[in-house]
Protein backbone atom coordinates (compact mmCIF):
# COMPACT_ATOMS: atom_id res chain seq x y z
CA UNK A 1 0.00 0.00 0.00
CA UNK A 2 1.50 3.35 -0.98
CA UNK A 3 1.71 6.45 1.26
CA UNK A 4 -1.34 8.17 -0.26
CA UNK A 5 -3.59 5.14 0.27
CA UNK A 6 -2.32 4.71 3.84
CA UNK A 7 -3.16 8.36 4.54
CA UNK A 8 -6.64 7.90 3.03
CA UNK A 9 -7.19 4.80 5.16
CA UNK A 10 -6.15 6.69 8.32
CA UNK A 11 -8.53 9.54 7.42
CA UNK A 12 -11.41 7.06 6.94
CA UNK A 13 -10.71 5.25 10.22
CA UNK A 14 -10.53 8.57 12.13
CA UNK A 15 -13.81 9.71 10.54
CA UNK A 16 -15.54 6.52 11.69
CA UNK A 17 -13.84 6.63 15.11
CA UNK A 18 -15.18 10.12 15.74
CA UNK A 19 -18.60 9.85 14.09
CA UNK A 20 -19.86 6.40 15.17
CA UNK A 21 -19.40 6.82 18.95
CA UNK A 22 -21.36 10.10 18.78
CA UNK A 23 -24.36 8.14 17.46
CA UNK A 24 -24.29 5.69 20.37
CA UNK A 25 -24.10 8.43 23.01
CA UNK A 26 -22.35 6.30 25.63
CA UNK A 27 -21.56 8.09 28.89
CA UNK A 28 -17.93 7.51 29.84
CA UNK A 29 -16.56 9.44 32.76
CA UNK A 30 -13.22 8.48 34.15
CA UNK A 31 -11.23 9.40 37.20
CA UNK A 32 -11.18 13.10 38.08
CA UNK A 33 -7.64 14.46 37.88
CA UNK A 34 -6.15 16.40 40.79
CA UNK A 35 -5.94 19.59 38.67
CA UNK A 36 -9.65 19.60 37.82
CA UNK A 37 -10.62 18.78 41.40
CA UNK A 38 -8.41 21.62 42.64
CA UNK A 39 -10.10 24.01 40.20
CA UNK A 40 -13.55 22.82 41.25
CA UNK A 41 -12.70 23.10 44.96
CA UNK A 42 -11.42 26.67 44.57
CA UNK A 43 -14.79 27.76 43.12
CA UNK A 44 -16.67 25.60 45.62
CA UNK A 45 -14.93 27.35 48.51
CA UNK A 46 -16.08 30.82 47.41
CA UNK A 47 -18.81 32.44 49.48
CA UNK A 48 -22.19 33.19 47.93
CA UNK A 49 -22.17 36.58 46.08
CA UNK A 50 -18.39 36.50 45.61
CA UNK A 51 -17.20 38.03 42.35
CA UNK A 52 -16.06 35.63 39.64
CA UNK A 53 -14.55 37.23 36.55
CA UNK A 54 -14.76 34.97 33.51
CA UNK A 55 -12.63 35.91 30.53
CA UNK A 56 -13.72 34.33 27.24
CA UNK A 57 -10.32 34.23 25.55
CA UNK A 58 -10.96 31.94 22.62
CA UNK A 59 -11.88 31.91 18.96
CA UNK A 60 -14.74 30.18 17.20
CA UNK A 61 -12.41 27.47 15.85
CA UNK A 62 -12.08 25.78 19.25
CA UNK A 63 -15.74 26.09 20.23
CA UNK A 64 -16.29 22.31 20.37
CA UNK A 65 -13.70 21.98 23.12
CA UNK A 66 -14.15 25.19 25.11
CA UNK A 67 -17.95 25.43 25.13
CA UNK A 68 -18.40 22.41 27.47
CA UNK A 69 -15.67 23.84 29.75
CA UNK A 70 -17.27 27.29 29.82
CA UNK A 71 -20.76 25.91 30.39
CA UNK A 72 -19.61 23.69 33.27
CA UNK A 73 -17.78 26.55 35.02
CA UNK A 74 -20.68 28.99 34.53
CA UNK A 75 -23.12 26.34 35.78
CA UNK A 76 -20.99 25.91 38.90
CA UNK A 77 -20.84 29.68 39.43
CA UNK A 78 -24.63 29.96 39.16
CA UNK A 79 -25.21 27.07 41.57
CA UNK A 80 -22.87 28.76 44.05
CA UNK A 81 -24.76 32.06 43.52
CA UNK A 82 -21.58 33.87 42.56
CA UNK A 83 -21.78 37.22 40.80
CA UNK A 84 -20.26 36.77 37.35
CA UNK A 85 -18.42 39.47 35.38
CA UNK A 86 -17.82 38.38 31.79
CA UNK A 87 -15.13 39.93 29.62
CA UNK A 88 -13.38 38.96 26.41
CA UNK A 89 -9.87 39.81 25.30
CA UNK A 90 -10.37 38.21 21.87
CA UNK A 91 -12.72 39.96 19.46
CA UNK A 92 -14.06 36.60 18.26
CA UNK A 93 -14.74 35.30 21.74
CA UNK A 94 -16.96 38.28 22.53
CA UNK A 95 -20.16 37.09 20.88
CA UNK A 96 -19.63 33.48 21.98
CA UNK A 97 -19.06 34.52 25.58
CA UNK A 98 -22.22 36.60 25.57
CA UNK A 99 -24.26 33.67 24.22
CA UNK A 100 -22.91 31.22 26.80
CA UNK A 101 -23.38 33.59 29.72
CA UNK A 102 -26.89 34.57 28.59
CA UNK A 103 -27.88 30.91 28.21
CA UNK A 104 -26.77 29.97 31.75
CA UNK A 105 -28.21 33.21 33.19
CA UNK A 106 -31.58 32.47 31.59
CA UNK A 107 -31.61 28.93 32.99
CA UNK A 108 -30.91 30.19 36.52
CA UNK A 109 -33.06 33.33 36.13
CA UNK A 110 -30.22 35.69 36.98
CA UNK A 111 -30.78 39.42 37.00
CA UNK A 112 -28.59 41.38 34.59
CA UNK A 113 -26.49 44.08 36.24
CA UNK A 114 -27.11 42.58 39.68
CA UNK A 115 -26.10 38.91 39.49
CA UNK A 116 -24.05 39.10 36.32
CA UNK A 117 -22.80 41.50 33.69
CA UNK A 118 -21.17 41.09 30.31
CA UNK A 119 -18.62 43.76 29.52
CA UNK A 120 -17.44 42.49 26.14
CA UNK A 121 -14.22 43.13 24.27
CA UNK A 122 -11.37 45.56 24.77
CA UNK A 123 -8.51 45.81 22.28
CA UNK A 124 -4.91 45.12 23.31
CA UNK A 125 -5.15 42.50 26.01
CA UNK A 126 -2.09 43.59 28.04
CA UNK A 127 -3.41 47.14 28.39
CA UNK A 128 -6.93 45.84 29.13
CA UNK A 129 -5.70 43.48 31.88
CA UNK A 130 -3.61 46.23 33.47
CA UNK A 131 -6.34 48.87 33.15
CA UNK A 132 -8.92 46.64 34.92
CA UNK A 133 -6.45 46.43 37.79
CA UNK A 134 -6.84 50.19 38.22
CA UNK A 135 -10.58 50.52 37.55
CA UNK A 136 -12.98 48.18 35.78
CA UNK A 137 -15.60 50.91 35.30
CA UNK A 138 -13.03 53.28 33.77
CA UNK A 139 -11.92 50.54 31.37
CA UNK A 140 -15.53 49.60 30.58
CA UNK A 141 -17.68 52.75 30.95
CA UNK A 142 -20.36 50.84 29.03
CA UNK A 143 -21.11 47.11 28.91
CA UNK A 144 -21.41 44.95 25.77
CA UNK A 145 -24.94 46.27 25.14
CA UNK A 146 -24.03 49.94 25.65
CA UNK A 147 -25.48 50.30 29.19
CA UNK A 148 -23.56 52.53 31.61
CA UNK A 149 -21.68 50.33 34.06
CA UNK A 150 -21.21 52.98 36.78
CA UNK A 151 -24.91 52.83 37.74
CA UNK A 152 -25.17 49.03 37.83
CA UNK A 153 -25.70 47.48 41.30
CA UNK A 154 -22.95 44.89 40.69
CA UNK A 155 -20.37 47.69 40.44
CA UNK A 156 -21.35 49.34 43.74
CA UNK A 157 -18.71 47.35 45.59
CA UNK A 158 -16.63 46.30 42.60
CA UNK A 159 -13.84 48.69 41.64
CA UNK A 160 -10.90 46.61 40.49
CA UNK A 161 -9.20 43.23 41.04
CA UNK A 162 -9.13 43.83 44.81
CA UNK A 163 -12.84 42.95 44.92
CA UNK A 164 -12.61 40.10 42.40
CA UNK A 165 -12.35 36.79 44.27
CA UNK A 166 -11.35 34.67 41.31
CA UNK A 167 -10.55 35.13 37.61
CA UNK A 168 -11.12 32.24 35.21
CA UNK A 169 -9.59 32.54 31.76
CA UNK A 170 -11.24 30.15 29.29
CA UNK A 171 -8.71 30.07 26.50
CA UNK A 172 -7.50 28.28 23.40
CA UNK A 173 -4.17 30.07 23.19
CA UNK A 174 -1.57 31.82 25.30
CA UNK A 175 -3.86 34.46 26.83
CA UNK A 176 -3.57 33.01 30.37
CA UNK A 177 0.15 33.79 30.15
CA UNK A 178 -0.72 37.50 30.00
CA UNK A 179 -3.21 37.11 32.85
CA UNK A 180 -0.40 35.51 34.87
CA UNK A 181 2.28 38.04 33.93
CA UNK A 182 0.16 41.15 34.42
CA UNK A 183 -2.86 40.40 36.65
CA UNK A 184 -1.28 37.80 38.96
CA UNK A 185 2.22 39.33 39.17
CA UNK A 186 1.12 42.94 39.59
CA UNK A 187 -2.31 42.72 41.26
CA UNK A 188 -2.05 39.35 43.04
CA UNK A 189 -5.17 38.04 41.33
CA UNK A 190 -6.38 34.47 42.00
CA UNK A 191 -6.33 32.91 38.53
CA UNK A 192 -7.68 29.62 37.20
CA UNK A 193 -7.53 28.50 33.60
CA UNK A 194 -9.71 26.28 31.41
CA UNK A 195 -7.89 25.36 28.21
CA UNK A 196 -7.99 23.31 25.08
CA UNK A 197 -6.12 20.04 25.68
CA UNK A 198 -3.29 20.99 23.32
CA UNK A 199 -2.48 24.10 25.39
CA UNK A 200 -2.53 22.43 28.81
CA UNK A 201 1.14 21.41 29.01
CA UNK A 202 2.19 25.04 28.45
CA UNK A 203 0.57 26.02 31.77
CA UNK A 204 1.70 23.23 34.10
CA UNK A 205 4.77 25.27 35.18
CA UNK A 206 2.47 28.09 36.31
CA UNK A 207 0.27 25.60 38.15
CA UNK A 208 3.15 23.97 40.00
CA UNK A 209 4.57 27.39 40.95
CA UNK A 210 1.19 28.40 42.41
CA UNK A 211 0.71 31.35 40.03
CA UNK A 212 -2.31 29.54 38.61
CA UNK A 213 -4.62 28.13 41.28
CA UNK A 214 -6.44 25.60 39.12
CA UNK A 215 -6.33 24.13 35.63
CA UNK A 216 -8.69 22.01 33.63
CA UNK A 217 -8.28 21.16 29.98
CA UNK A 218 -10.03 19.73 26.98
CA UNK A 219 -13.13 17.66 26.64
CA UNK A 220 -11.83 15.33 29.38
CA UNK A 221 -11.50 18.26 31.77
CA UNK A 222 -15.06 19.31 30.94
CA UNK A 223 -16.32 15.74 31.48
CA UNK A 224 -14.53 15.58 34.84
CA UNK A 225 -15.97 18.94 35.86
CA UNK A 226 -19.47 17.82 34.81
CA UNK A 227 -19.13 14.64 36.87
CA UNK A 228 -18.15 16.75 39.91
CA UNK A 229 -21.26 18.88 39.26
CA UNK A 230 -23.29 15.71 38.68
CA UNK A 231 -24.65 16.95 35.37
CA UNK A 232 -24.29 15.76 31.77
CA UNK A 233 -23.07 18.28 29.22
CA UNK A 234 -20.96 18.41 26.09
CA UNK A 235 -17.91 17.02 27.88
CA UNK A 236 -19.44 13.73 28.93
CA UNK A 237 -21.33 13.41 25.63
CA UNK A 238 -18.08 13.72 23.66
CA UNK A 239 -15.79 11.59 25.85
CA UNK A 240 -16.59 8.26 24.20
CA UNK A 241 -15.83 9.67 20.73
CA UNK A 242 -12.61 11.25 21.99
CA UNK A 243 -11.49 8.09 23.78
CA UNK A 244 -12.12 5.94 20.68
CA UNK A 245 -10.25 8.39 18.41
CA UNK A 246 -7.36 8.57 20.92
CA UNK A 247 -7.19 4.78 20.86
CA UNK A 248 -7.09 4.88 17.05
CA UNK A 249 -4.17 7.33 17.17
CA UNK A 250 -2.34 4.95 19.56
CA UNK A 251 -2.97 2.05 17.16
CA UNK A 252 -1.79 4.21 14.25
CA UNK A 253 1.48 4.95 16.12
CA UNK A 254 1.98 1.23 16.79
CA UNK A 255 1.15 0.41 13.14
CA UNK A 256 3.68 3.00 11.95
CA UNK A 257 6.38 1.34 14.06
CA UNK A 258 5.48 -2.18 12.89
CA UNK A 259 5.77 -1.00 9.26
CA UNK A 260 9.08 0.67 10.11
CA UNK A 261 10.38 -2.57 11.72
CA UNK A 262 9.52 -4.71 8.67
CA UNK A 263 10.97 -2.12 6.28
CA UNK A 264 14.27 -2.22 8.20
CA UNK A 265 14.29 -6.03 8.32
CA UNK A 266 13.79 -6.13 4.55
CA UNK A 267 16.76 -3.76 4.10
CA UNK A 268 19.02 -5.86 6.40
CA UNK A 269 18.28 -8.98 4.38
Amino acid sequence: MNATNIRRLIFLVILLAVALPLIFNIDLTGRVTDETRQMFDNIEMLQSHSILMVSFDFEASSIAEVRPLAEAILEHACRKELRVVGVSLFAEGTALGEQMLAQVAKKHQLQYGVDYVYLGFRPQYVAAILAMGESIVDEYPADYFGNATAVMPIFRDLKNYNQVDLVVSIADGSMPTYWTEYAVARYDVNLEVALTASMATAFYPYLSSGQIKGLTAGLKGAAEYESLLDCKGGGRRGMFAQSVSQSVVILVIIAGNVVEYFNRRRKWK
Binding site: I6, F11, I14, A95, A202, Y204, P205, I253, G256
Partner: protein, 204 residues
Protein backbone atom coordinates in the same frame (compact mmCIF):
# COMPACT_ATOMS: atom_id res chain seq x y z
CA UNK B 1 16.39 66.55 15.04
CA UNK B 2 15.30 63.73 12.77
CA UNK B 3 11.94 61.95 13.17
CA UNK B 4 13.79 58.72 14.06
CA UNK B 5 15.56 60.43 16.96
CA UNK B 6 12.21 61.74 18.26
CA UNK B 7 10.82 58.18 18.13
CA UNK B 8 13.84 56.81 20.02
CA UNK B 9 13.47 59.52 22.71
CA UNK B 10 9.73 58.72 23.08
CA UNK B 11 10.54 55.00 23.40
CA UNK B 12 13.25 55.75 26.00
CA UNK B 13 11.10 58.09 28.14
CA UNK B 14 8.02 55.84 27.97
CA UNK B 15 10.03 52.68 28.66
CA UNK B 16 11.81 54.19 31.67
CA UNK B 17 8.52 55.60 33.01
CA UNK B 18 6.70 52.24 32.73
CA UNK B 19 9.63 50.58 34.48
CA UNK B 20 9.81 53.11 37.32
CA UNK B 21 6.07 53.61 37.90
CA UNK B 22 5.75 50.00 39.07
CA UNK B 23 7.69 50.97 42.21
CA UNK B 24 6.11 54.41 42.83
CA UNK B 25 2.66 54.83 44.38
CA UNK B 26 1.81 58.48 43.71
CA UNK B 27 -1.37 60.05 42.28
CA UNK B 28 0.42 61.85 39.43
CA UNK B 29 2.33 58.74 38.40
CA UNK B 30 -0.80 56.54 38.60
CA UNK B 31 -2.84 58.97 36.50
CA UNK B 32 -0.11 59.19 33.87
CA UNK B 33 0.12 55.38 33.89
CA UNK B 34 -3.66 55.08 33.28
CA UNK B 35 -3.47 57.67 30.46
CA UNK B 36 -0.65 55.73 28.81
CA UNK B 37 -2.70 52.52 29.01
CA UNK B 38 -5.60 54.36 27.30
CA UNK B 39 -3.25 55.53 24.53
CA UNK B 40 -1.89 51.99 24.20
CA UNK B 41 -5.40 50.72 23.43
CA UNK B 42 -6.23 53.66 21.14
CA UNK B 43 -3.06 53.12 19.10
CA UNK B 44 -3.79 49.39 18.91
CA UNK B 45 -7.35 50.06 17.67
CA UNK B 46 -5.97 52.42 15.00
CA UNK B 47 -3.50 49.76 13.83
CA UNK B 48 -6.47 47.38 13.38
CA UNK B 49 -8.13 49.94 11.10
CA UNK B 50 -4.88 50.37 9.15
CA UNK B 51 -4.58 46.57 8.85
CA UNK B 52 -8.17 46.25 7.61
CA UNK B 53 -7.71 48.99 5.03
CA UNK B 54 -4.45 47.45 3.80
CA UNK B 55 -6.13 44.04 3.43
CA UNK B 56 -8.97 45.67 1.50
CA UNK B 57 -6.57 47.55 -0.79
CA UNK B 58 -4.50 44.42 -1.55
CA UNK B 59 -7.58 42.39 -2.49
CA UNK B 60 -9.18 45.22 -4.50
CA UNK B 61 -5.98 45.37 -6.56
CA UNK B 62 -6.15 41.60 -7.12
CA UNK B 63 -9.78 41.96 -8.18
CA UNK B 64 -8.87 44.66 -10.69
CA UNK B 65 -6.10 42.45 -12.16
CA UNK B 66 -8.67 39.62 -12.51
CA UNK B 67 -7.22 36.12 -12.72
CA UNK B 68 -8.37 32.66 -11.64
CA UNK B 69 -7.70 33.49 -7.97
CA UNK B 70 -9.85 36.64 -8.02
CA UNK B 71 -12.86 34.73 -6.66
CA UNK B 72 -11.08 34.45 -3.30
CA UNK B 73 -10.37 38.18 -3.25
CA UNK B 74 -14.02 38.83 -4.07
CA UNK B 75 -15.06 36.67 -1.09
CA UNK B 76 -12.63 38.53 1.19
CA UNK B 77 -13.73 41.99 0.06
CA UNK B 78 -17.43 41.06 0.30
CA UNK B 79 -16.97 39.63 3.79
CA UNK B 80 -15.04 42.68 5.06
CA UNK B 81 -17.51 45.16 3.60
CA UNK B 82 -20.55 43.21 4.81
CA UNK B 83 -19.28 42.90 8.39
CA UNK B 84 -18.18 46.55 8.59
CA UNK B 85 -21.22 48.13 6.91
CA UNK B 86 -23.81 45.91 8.63
CA UNK B 87 -22.26 46.53 12.07
CA UNK B 88 -22.27 50.31 11.46
CA UNK B 89 -25.91 50.36 10.27
CA UNK B 90 -27.51 47.64 12.45
CA UNK B 91 -24.99 47.32 15.30
CA UNK B 92 -23.52 44.08 16.66
CA UNK B 93 -26.40 43.09 18.97
CA UNK B 94 -27.90 39.63 19.38
CA UNK B 95 -30.28 39.80 16.39
CA UNK B 96 -28.10 41.88 14.05
CA UNK B 97 -26.94 40.71 10.58
CA UNK B 98 -23.36 40.93 11.91
CA UNK B 99 -24.17 38.39 14.64
CA UNK B 100 -26.07 36.18 12.18
CA UNK B 101 -23.07 36.08 9.84
CA UNK B 102 -20.74 35.36 12.75
CA UNK B 103 -22.86 32.51 14.13
CA UNK B 104 -23.85 30.94 10.83
CA UNK B 105 -20.85 31.52 8.58
CA UNK B 106 -17.66 32.43 10.43
CA UNK B 107 -17.99 30.16 13.48
CA UNK B 108 -18.92 26.95 11.55
CA UNK B 109 -16.19 27.60 8.96
CA UNK B 110 -13.52 28.05 11.62
CA UNK B 111 -14.72 25.04 13.62
CA UNK B 112 -14.70 22.92 10.45
CA UNK B 113 -11.17 23.97 9.55
CA UNK B 114 -9.97 23.26 13.10
CA UNK B 115 -11.66 19.86 13.17
CA UNK B 116 -9.58 18.77 10.17
CA UNK B 117 -6.65 18.73 12.61
CA UNK B 118 -7.86 15.35 13.91
CA UNK B 119 -7.12 13.82 10.51
CA UNK B 120 -3.74 15.51 10.12
CA UNK B 121 -2.68 14.63 13.68
CA UNK B 122 -3.46 10.94 13.07
CA UNK B 123 -1.63 10.98 9.74
CA UNK B 124 1.37 12.78 11.27
CA UNK B 125 1.40 10.36 14.24
CA UNK B 126 1.76 7.44 11.80
CA UNK B 127 4.93 8.95 10.33
CA UNK B 128 6.25 11.10 13.19
CA UNK B 129 6.40 8.64 16.08
CA UNK B 130 8.51 6.00 14.36
CA UNK B 131 11.32 4.78 16.59
CA UNK B 132 14.44 5.44 14.53
CA UNK B 133 16.75 6.56 17.35
CA UNK B 134 16.91 6.62 21.18
CA UNK B 135 15.45 10.16 21.48
CA UNK B 136 12.65 9.13 19.10
CA UNK B 137 11.96 6.10 21.35
CA UNK B 138 11.68 8.37 24.42
CA UNK B 139 9.30 10.66 22.51
CA UNK B 140 7.12 7.78 21.32
CA UNK B 141 6.96 6.14 24.77
CA UNK B 142 6.10 9.46 26.46
CA UNK B 143 3.40 10.11 23.84
CA UNK B 144 1.88 6.66 24.33
CA UNK B 145 1.89 7.00 28.14
CA UNK B 146 0.20 10.43 28.05
CA UNK B 147 -2.29 9.43 25.34
CA UNK B 148 -3.26 6.26 27.18
CA UNK B 149 -3.16 7.84 30.64
CA UNK B 150 -5.39 10.70 29.56
CA UNK B 151 -7.98 8.48 27.87
CA UNK B 152 -10.68 6.58 29.70
CA UNK B 153 -9.59 3.31 28.10
CA UNK B 154 -6.15 3.84 29.68
CA UNK B 155 -7.78 4.01 33.10
CA UNK B 156 -9.54 0.73 32.32
CA UNK B 157 -6.24 -0.98 31.38
CA UNK B 158 -4.44 0.07 34.55
CA UNK B 159 -5.26 2.45 37.38
CA UNK B 160 -1.57 3.47 37.46
CA UNK B 161 -1.54 4.80 33.88
CA UNK B 162 -3.23 8.16 34.71
CA UNK B 163 -0.74 8.70 37.56
CA UNK B 164 2.15 7.88 35.23
CA UNK B 165 0.79 10.32 32.61
CA UNK B 166 0.45 12.94 35.35
CA UNK B 167 4.07 12.34 36.38
CA UNK B 168 5.27 12.85 32.78
CA UNK B 169 3.29 16.10 32.53
CA UNK B 170 4.24 17.43 35.97
CA UNK B 171 7.94 16.51 36.01
CA UNK B 172 9.98 16.12 32.78
CA UNK B 173 7.54 18.24 30.77
CA UNK B 174 7.37 21.03 33.39
CA UNK B 175 11.17 21.00 33.81
CA UNK B 176 11.75 21.46 30.07
CA UNK B 177 9.00 24.04 29.75
CA UNK B 178 10.27 26.02 32.75
CA UNK B 179 13.76 26.11 31.25
CA UNK B 180 12.30 27.50 28.02
CA UNK B 181 10.22 30.06 29.95
CA UNK B 182 13.24 31.29 31.92
CA UNK B 183 15.14 31.65 28.64
CA UNK B 184 12.23 33.56 27.06
CA UNK B 185 12.02 35.81 30.14
CA UNK B 186 15.70 36.68 30.05
CA UNK B 187 15.50 37.28 26.29
CA UNK B 188 12.48 39.56 26.75
CA UNK B 189 14.30 41.63 29.39
CA UNK B 190 17.36 41.95 27.18
CA UNK B 191 15.27 42.96 24.14
CA UNK B 192 13.25 45.47 26.19
CA UNK B 193 16.46 47.07 27.47
CA UNK B 194 17.86 47.24 23.93
CA UNK B 195 14.67 48.98 22.72
CA UNK B 196 14.58 51.42 25.67
CA UNK B 197 18.27 52.30 25.25
CA UNK B 198 17.88 52.78 21.49
CA UNK B 199 20.19 49.89 20.52
CA UNK B 200 17.36 47.90 18.92
CA UNK B 201 15.75 50.11 16.27
CA UNK B 202 13.99 47.61 14.02
CA UNK B 203 10.58 49.11 14.97
CA UNK B 204 11.44 52.40 13.22
Amino acid sequence: MTINRVAIIIAFVTGIFMLVQYFIDAVVVNNLYKTLLDYYQIIFAITMIVGGLTLLRVHLRKLVRFDRHSIFSLATVTAILFMVISSIIFGTGTNSPYQWAFNNIQAPMQATTFSLLAFFVASAAYRGFRVRSKPAAVLAIAALIVLLGRSIFGEMISEHLPSLAGWVLNNPSVAAKRGILVGIGLGSVATALRVILGIERSYL
